[in-house]
């Protein structure tokens, strides 16, 4: 064989793909092995939560599929349609998340200076960064896919080879959006500076997500579950037989899976999936070779951004004057940082859409007409509290939970100043809580109005949601301080940390606790109203009193614990 390297020419260094990925693997291993206090307990909680989550998804899909399997003719069609719909959702999420992750991994990551300055082959750099992007943006979808496919395999008796079939399908299904997403990001960075691209991308991502949610709601998928709504069975079957979109990889995965499960041989989707994924990687690599050097160079330019806020400062100064200089400046800082960070405020758009969808759902609940008693109409708003509580908990996780983590790098300034940590925590609490409280009252007020509930239920739900909001905000701040993520570069990742998980679990416990404590007096009152008997005052005082105490404790105890923890943190 010919050796193209001449004897005199020194061998060029050529680090392998694995060598480039090695620091990431070692970092992940070091993180997993870190001998922190309470590590075993953390893993245990994570494992329990993970198993419960899997069991829940598996259980829901299993029941649905069991039902579908019992329906002759259209059963497999329904199962295929369901899988197709879920996979379309997965594919959109994957594409979006790959586009955003690629921006960090290909253009803004801290290790890029080292790799780009080193004698690293462009193709290996592309491969390493593509793998990194794929892993970061796909792990969550993969975790959700496991119980989903397991349910399909169990119900349709896919056999011992089924997991390998799924692995063979999911490989290209995950690779494809990674290659396409990275290519889109590469093109965008060549048009806009990277930091502007990040802003633009976050707005696009949020708008797309909002659009998908709205569209999904407007399509009213629940009608698929009601075949009687269609003119004839033939119409319904025709609709089911039509592929959602024959050109989408999700459709190919669905077809390949269902053909295996229904013992029909169909190799076309396999061919389409693998050849498209391979082509996407090759085209992505070609684009990388052509455009990456200039894109990377552009990404290093920082956007010049002016921020004159004369009128805002003047108005805010006067409005916040009663707080005193220190608290006013702390509040102003929080507000400015939030509204100048596109990745933060743009999430408000998604929030607005979620609230609209929520109210829309309540509006179309079939609560009028025959059979709808006074009792039922008043129980629904009570259950509505649970749903509103979950919505508020997820918002608190997104906006209040990361508050202390985001101070990490600037903690030196606050710690070396005469400001008390108590002031910092309370300013974070109120800046996060007030908008949350307004939103909570708005959601519950509007939905109660739409449901035309009694004055008693209106008052109960308004006071409960207000107390619950304070408790959720206290928990978010408390858990956010107890489990801070000081080193993270991306605020969006903070709520998905271990502490975020614990916060959500604690929130569910508090929401559940409040509702359970209030259920008895509310039931008693409604029962008394419906049947004309007197209400039990002791029961009401005890129930509402205990619920109020639970909310108060959930607000104050976490903040007290957080205060002690923050005072002990040395950074």
């Amino acid at each position: 064989m010919l050796d193209f390297v001449s004897v005199d020419e020194p061998r060029r260094p050529d680090p392998s793909l694995f060598h480039l990925l090695r620091p990431k693997v070692l970092t992940a291993r070091a993180k997993a092995m870190a001998g922190e206090r309470g590590r075993t307990a953390r893993w245990l909680v994570l494992a329990i939560f993970g198993v419960l989550f899997w069991a829940f998804i598996f259980g829901v899909v299993f029941r649905l599929l069991k039902y579908f399997r019992g329906v002759p003719e259209i059963g497999p069609l329904l199962a295929g349609k369901l899988l197709g719909l879920i996979l379309v959702g997965f594919f959109s999420i994957l594409l979006l998340s790959n586009v955003i992750t690629a921006l960090s991994s290909f253009f803004l990551a801290r290790d890029l200076d080292l790799l780009v300055a080193g004698p690293v082959d462009w193709l290996k750099l592309y491969g390493a960064k593509l793998m990194e992007t794929l892993v970061h943006s796909s792990w969550m979808v993969l975790l959700m896919a496991i119980p989903l496919f397991a349910a399909y395999g169990v119900v349709y008796e896919g056999g011992w080879f089924f997991p390998f079939i799924v692995a063979g399908l999911l490989g290209p299904f995950l690779l494809l959006p990674a290659a396409i997403g990275s290519a889109i990001t590469l093109l965008l960075v060549n048009i806009f500076p990277a930091r502007r691209t990040r802003d633009i991308l976050s707005v696009i991502a949020i708008l797309t997500a909002s659009g998908v949610v709205l569209l999904f709601r407007l399509v009213r998928p629940e009608r698929f579950a009601k075949p009687e709504g269609f003119r004839s069975l033939v119409d319904f079957i025709t609709l089911l037989r039509t592929p959602t979109s024959p050109l989408l990889p999700s459709e190919w995965v669905q077809r390949a899976t269902m053909s295996w499960l229904t013992y029909k041989t169909d190799l076309l989707p396999w061919y389409l999936l693998w050849s498209t994924a391979a082509s996407a990687v090759v085209l992505g690599a070609a684009l990388h070779w052509r455009l990456y050097p200039q894109g990377f160079s552009k990404a290093q330019e920082s956007a010049q951004r002016w921020a004159r806020s004369g009128w805002f400062s003047r108005v805010a100064d006067r409005a916040l004057a009663p707080l005193g200089v220190l608290r006013r400046e702390l509040v102003l800082k929080e507000v400015r940082l939030f509204f100048r960070d596109t990745t933060q405020w743009s999430q408000l758009l998604l929030l607005a859409v979620l609230v609209v969808v929520y109210v829309f759902n309540i509006k179309f609940l079939p609560l009028k007409g025959d059979g709808m008693t006074f009792f039922l109409r008043n129980v629904v708003p009570f259950l509505n509290l649970v749903l509103a509580g979950f919505v508020l908990a997820s918002i608190a996780a997104r906006f209040i939970f990361p508050g202390v983590s985001l101070e990490g790098r600037t903690l030196w300034l606050l710690r070396s100043s005469p400001m008390s940590i108590r002031d910092l925590l309370w300013s974070k609490f109120w800046v996060g809580t007030l908008p949350l409280l307004i939103l909570a009252l708005l959601i519950v007020g509007v939905t109660n109005y739409l449901l035309q509930v009694s004055v008693f239920m209106f008052m109960v739900s308004i006071v409960t949601i207000a107390a619950m909001t304070l408790a959720l905000a206290g928990l978010a701040l408390g858990f956010g301080t107890l489990f801070p993520q000081f080193e993270t570069e991306n605020a969006a990742q903070i709520p998905t940390s271990f502490g975020g998980l614990l916060f959500m679990m604690a929130s569910v416990a508090v929401i559940g606790g409040v509702v359970i404590l209030e259920a008895r007096p509310v039931y008693g009152y409604l029962h008394a109203r419906a049947f004309g008997s007197p209400s039990d005052v002791t029961e009401m005082v005890a129930g509402f009193g205990l619920a109020g105490a639970l909310c108060l404790l959930s607000t104050l105890v976490p903040i007290k614990v957080a205060l002690r923890r923050l005072q002990a943190i040395e950074r």
Binding site: R195, S302, A303, Q304, R305, W306, A307, R308, S309, G324, V325, L326, R328, E329, L330, L332, K333, R336, L337, R340, D341, R409, T410, L411, W412, L413, L414, R415, S416, S417, P418, M419, S420, E570, R571
Partner: protein, 252 residues
């Protein structure tokens, strides 16, 4: 103005700062030198109230920083070695925020902030977000912020890193003038020329202990014969073997 008594900081079994006793009087610029990992930053961060001492006492203007942190910190300005600040605030907003932390606001602070920004050639950038500042500009902004509330004591960790020659000269003049007016500065640096030309007294720390402390003349006397410049004294006191080993490494 700054008094450290038996100051100690331990991280588990590792002792970063070991029983330091030190006093920096009013109107003095004290230089704190030492090799990497000697305990300089840990000491300064304890004085600034960021780290809590394992043992010992720190007094700022006669106030115990552990006993009454808010009173002690109100006398203090701290300049860290790494310029991490809020990316989404403008330079002017950042200075105003820092003044607010010391409960100061109003036209006098606005005026002072403007003057400090002008001093470090940052006036044009005052309404621009910090995220677009270079490393040196951030450092200059942090230095300005340490002066904005007129502290009596300034604790500064590696002030010259990232500064251009003009800014370095301004900072030196500022430090000199500031101590001449009766204020106190404690500064760590690796730039020995700066320490030699600027500091009234110098302390050399190694392995968490003060190896030598005094004026340049006193340090010369402490070091062995032949050590005239600070570099020689530093290497004599902290071990010059490392410098000699350089040749071996390059030849290897």
């Amino acid at each position: 103005m700054i008094r450290l008594s038996a100051l100690t900081k331990r991280y588990g079994s590792f002792t970063a700062v070991d029983q330091i006793d030190l006093s920096v009087p009013r109107g003095q610029l004290f230089g704190f030198l030492g090799p990497n990992g000697a305990g300089k930053t840990t000491t300064l961060r304890m004085i600034a109230g960021i780290l809590r001492p394992t043992a010992g006492r720190i007094e700022i203007a006669g106030i115990d920083i552990v006993g009454d942190p808010r009173a002690a910190k109100s006398k203090l300005g701290f300049i860290p070695d790494r310029p991490f600040i809020y990316e989404k605030l403008t330079g002017a907003e950042f200075l105003r925020f820092v003044a607010g932390l010391y409960d100061q606001s109003g036209p006098a602070i606005e005026h002072r902030a403007r003057e400090l920004l002008a001093l470090f050639d940052l006036e044009e950038w005052r309404d621009e977000l910090v995220e677009s500042y270079s490393h040196g500009m951030r450092q200059k902004l942090i230095i300005s912020s340490a002066f904005v509330h007129r502290p009596e004591v300034i604790v500064v960790d590696e002030p010259m890193v990232g500064l251009d020659p003009k800014a370095a000269k301004i900072l030196k003049d500022l430090f000199r003038e500031y101590t001449r007016r009766g204020h106190t500065i404690m500064m760590s640096t690796h730039t020995l020329e700066v320490a030699q030309s600027l500091c009234d007294r110098i302390g050399i720390i190694q392995g968490g202990k003060i190896r030598a402390c005094g004026t340049m003349d006193e340090l010369r006397r402490d070091a062995e014969a032949g050590a005239t410049g600070l570099e020689h004294i530093f290497l004599k006191l902290t071990g010059e073997n490392a410098a000699r080993a350089l040749v071996d490494v390059l030849d290897a």
